[in-house]
């Protein structure tokens, strides 16, 4: 193996009490594509941010081509030869400027004299564009380009720095198959030129196409390294998702009558249609990788998006919600993921957060009844075991786990027909996770319950039945009893990816 371009030893980073990187050791060699896999919160983004100069590491060393590397800022990292193309394409370009200005942006930001010479700039920009095979008029504004071209601009801009290490963070997440193909061609060219490439992605098709080597990350440390053809893809996924399955004691009850029935559901054009039945008194966990369609399915069930095809029935009547309001009125509740963005009302106390969706029940002739609200809040805080001084505490004074308990309690305070919980264990400690899990199971008799989780052990902890979603379609169903974890893993990673096959 060639000498490492970049070498990370014992890298640590904490935010407050939260240890995000717990000693990362990693070598990246020139002319090699290393794919980095990791679930949400595994520490991938923090690692990238340390490498590109956004955060400083607390401990550990990084050497770049034998020299100590501790960039104080993103521009310092760039000058040292580490360039990063971020997930959100528009983070990498300035849409209102023309292509030439974008390509030379780092140069401009460095302060290259006060005056600009258009003709010289464009000539230089054309050289840079040609180097990455980007064929556009450099005088055009970036806002007028296709997504892939914008991305190429972003990469070309990075390449103008003649990097030693190129980091790509989920670069294909918003590209079409043909657009992605252009990107792959470019990456292969850069690999041939001897650039070390760190490629972060969950898309198995991308990984199969590009990876020379896979590194899995879990809980802030490297949990697996996979080299040598053929690569062990399932091993990599297992290392990323982990396999310490919590000992849980699930007694599967007899499911009742179907509450939700989906027939021939197609979540996006080109995806395989599937059926889904959620009976009363059953907790279903739906798992899958990032981008496998969990959010799309949740949105369809809650009326936030319309399916491409297929029909829904609720309690044997047609169910066609067009807004969240209609879904709630029909008795379908969604506790959304990313609570700080989608659920927490920061200005409100616990009580007001709890009663938000059902204010009508707590009011008489439009006027709120404080007593009714307080009674509900006191009851739910007690039942959920929210740790607080009183229900009048501000929501942001609570820990993440307790905030999440309040958000789940918000939707359990009233009886529902179908309760959907999207990543209910996101960013919560183990005790809160157990409490929420127990509460979901304890109240499940009166309704159907669907829980979306990315982590398999969470699914095993909460569900009667586990469904695996891949490429926007259900590819496996397992009763949560003597379960074959390896089989689920295989489905998570490998299952019939039709759109992927076209690419591979």
């Amino acid at each position: 193996m060639t000498e490492a371009t970049i070498k990370l030893v014992g890298l640590r980073k904490a935010f407050g009490k939260n240890q995000v990187l717990r000693g990362v050791d990693l070598d990246l060699a020139p002319g090699q594509v290393t794919v980095l896999m990791g679930a949400n919160g595994a520490g991938k983004s923090t690692l990238v941010k340390v490498l590109c100069g956004v955060h400083a590491a607390d401990a550990g060393t990084v050497t770049l081509a034998g020299v100590a590397f501790a960039p104080a800022s993103p521009s310092a990292a760039l000058r040292a030869g580490v360039v990063t193309v971020h997930q959100n394409i528009n983070d990498g370009v300035v849409p209102d400027l023309d292509v030439a200005s974008n390509l030379l942006l780092d140069h401009l930001a460095d302060g290259a004299g006060a005056f600009l010479n258009d003709r010289k700039m464009r000539a230089r920009a054309r050289e840079i564009a040609a180097a990455v095979g980007l064929e556009v008029d450099v005088a055009r504004p970036v806002a007028g380009l296709a997504l892939a071209d914008r991305q190429l601009v972003s990469i070309a801009r990075a390449m103008a720095q003649e990097p030693q290490l190129l980091i790509l963070d989920e670069p294909t997440s918003s590209l079409s198959a043909t657009e992605a193909e252009r990107l792959f061609a470019l990456i292969e060219r850069l690999r041939a030129q001897g650039v070390a490439i760190l490629y972060i992605s969950h898309r198995m098709s991308d990984i199969r196409r590009l990876a020379d080597r896979i590194v899995s990350m879990r809980d802030g440390a490297i949990s697996g390294r996979f080299e040598g053809q053929p690569l062990d893809y399932s091993g990599a996924v297992r290392a990323m998702l982990g396999h310490e399955i919590t000992e849980v004691d699930i007694t599967i009850p007899t499911p009742g009558a179907p509450v939700l029935e989906a027939r021939g559901l197609v979540l996006r054009p080109g995806a395989r249609p599937f059926d889904l039945t959620a009976p009363q008194n059953e907790v279903i966990a739906i798992t899958g990788l990032v981008g496998s369609g969990k959010t799309a399915l949740a949105e369809v069930l809650f009326g936030l998006a319309q399916p491409t095809a297929g029909s829904l029935r609720l309690d044997d009547a047609p169910y066609t919600p067009r807004t969240a309001t209609e879904a709630v009125a029909a008795g379908v509740f969604l506790c959304p993921k990313d609570r700080l963005i989608n659920a927490v009302v920061a200005d409100f106390d616990i009580t007001r957060n709890l009663t938000l969706p059902f204010l009508r029940r707590h009011s008489r002739a439009h006027f709120l009844r404080r007593a009714s609200e307080n009674a509900t809040a006191t009851r739910m805080v007690g039942e959920m075991g929210v740790v607080c001084q009183s229900p009048a505490d501000g929501i942001l004074t609570l820990s993440g786990g307790n905030q999440q308990k309040v958000m789940v309690a918000r939707w359990m305070a009233e009886a529902s027909r179908l309760l959907i919980l999207d990543e209910p264990f996101q960013g919560v400690d183990i005790q809160a996770r157990r409490d929420i899990c127990a509460k979901i199971r304890a109240t499940a008799q009166t309704r159907a319950t669907i829980v979306f989780v990315a982590e398999l052990d969470e699914a095993l902890e909460v569900a009667d039945r586990i469904l695996v979603l891949s490429e926007h379609s259900i590819v496996g169903a397992h009763r949560n009893e003597n379960i074959d974890v390896a089989a689920i893993m295989a489905e998570v990673v490998d299952a019939a990816p039709e759109t992927t096959r076209e690419l591979a």
């Binding site: 809650f302 936030l304 807004t323 969240a324 309001t325 879904a327 709630v328 009125a329 969604l334 959304p336 963005i341 989608n342 659920a343 927490v344 009302v345 920061a346 200005d347 409100f348 007001r352 938000l356 969706p357 204010l359 009508r360 707590h362 009011s363 439009h366 006027f367 709120l368 501000g394 942001l396 004074t397 918000r410």
Partner: protein, 339 residues
């Protein structure tokens, strides 16, 4: 931070502004002769009645996380419209009031639809509306003020008058303890302040509006009709601004050409000062009313002490800055200390 120090900061955030106001009253009471009389108190209320009512409208839009720059222009448009209805069309006070309220509601509706349907940012939509109204109110009279006996663009003379009933809205005073003490406009201010307070604090609609202002995405996912509430907020703002304009017309007794920018700025200042009252750190009707009163007391006292107008503007600005520091720096520190 040690507990004593923290509670001192919390006390300051909560009561600092009210203490400041009490101090101001004591100061003016001892230096300006005639400041501490019931009449003086009523003058203050009367001088803030119009901006106070406008400020309550702004508060409604601030609650849903919006902003309404058009209120000043709506008020002066209502001033011109009510004058036009009575003086040129020679209709009664009833029609003048009704048409003004409808105009305010319609402007609010258009503002709201521009913002939620056309996705125009709130500041820009209402800024556009402001210019539009400032121009539109001048078109029918070719930029002239409206008063009885004025000549119209077509050469004829306007013969209508402001009816007594209409003028009473801005000028009549009720007997309260002392005869002729309480102006009707003050009664309107108090009634509207109470109504807005009740609506925002005690009804579920007010609660949802606050939720929308704090996290619109969360409110939408909780099933609230975010767009409808936003439009309602702008309609409240438009209607209250037109009420302010009606009272202005009744006080002036003629349709004065004016941009209303000072009304807008004073109203916004009152609403923002209101953030600091009782450490609310958010738009609220009670705070807005206190904020308007605070500015009124300050201006009354300074005028009684013969302070020129520019020092008054200066001090108004200083109060606003201090209030914003109370709201953002101090209370942010307070909550960070806990989190």
């Amino acid at each position: 931070m040690n507990p004593d120090k923290r509670s001192a900061v919390e006390l300051m955030i909560r009561y600092g502004f009210l203490v400041l106001m009490a101090g101001l009253i004591v100061f003016f009471g001892s230096t300006a002769e005639g400041f501490l009389t019931p009449f003086s108190a009523v003058f203050i209320l009367q001088s803030v009645a119009i901006t106070g009512i406008l400020a309550l409208g702004v508060t409604a839009t601030l609650v849903v996380g919006g902003f309404d720059l058009s209120i000043g222009a709506v008020a002066t448009s209502a001033l011109m419209l009510s004058s036009y209805v009575m003086v040129v069309w020679e209709l009664s006070a009833f029609w003048a009031v009704l048409l003004c309220l409808l105009m305010g509601a319609a402007v609010g509706l258009v503002n709201g639809l521009l913002i939620v349907k056309m996705k125009v940012p709130d500041l820009l939509a209402t800024l556009g509306m402001m210019f539009l109204l400032v121009g539109a109110q001048r078109i029918p009279t070719e930029g002239r003020s409206i008063s009885t006996g004025m000549s119209l663009p077509d050469g004829s003379t306007a013969n209508g008058t402001f009816s007594e009933g209409f003028l009473m809205l801005g000028r009549h005073r009720l007997d309260l303890i002392l005869p002729d003490l309480l102006p009707l406009s003050v009664v309107f201010l108090i009634a509207i302040a109470v109504a807005v307070w009740v609506f925002l604090e005690l009804t579920r609609h007010g609660r949802l509006m606050y939720a929308i202002g704090s996290n619109a995405q969360a409110a939408a996912l909780a099933g609230a009709n975010v767009n409808r509430y936003k439009v309602v907020a702008y309609m409240i703002s438009g209607v209250l601004a037109s009420v302010g304009g009606i009272l202005l017309a009744a006080r002036l007794g003629r349709g004065d050409v004016a941009s209303g920018n000072n009304l807008l700025l004073d109203a916004v200042a009152a609403a923002l000062i209101g953030f600091a009252v009782l450490g609310a750190s958010k738009p609220n009707a009670f705070g807005t009313a206190i904020g308007a009163l605070f500015v009124g007391i300050l201006l009354q006292g300074l005028t009684m002490l013969n302070a020129p107008y520019y020092t008054q503007d200066f001090i108004k600005g200083a109060v606003l800055v201090v209030a914003l520091v109370f709201t953002f720096a101090l209370s942010a520190r307070g909550s960070r200390g806990r989190g």
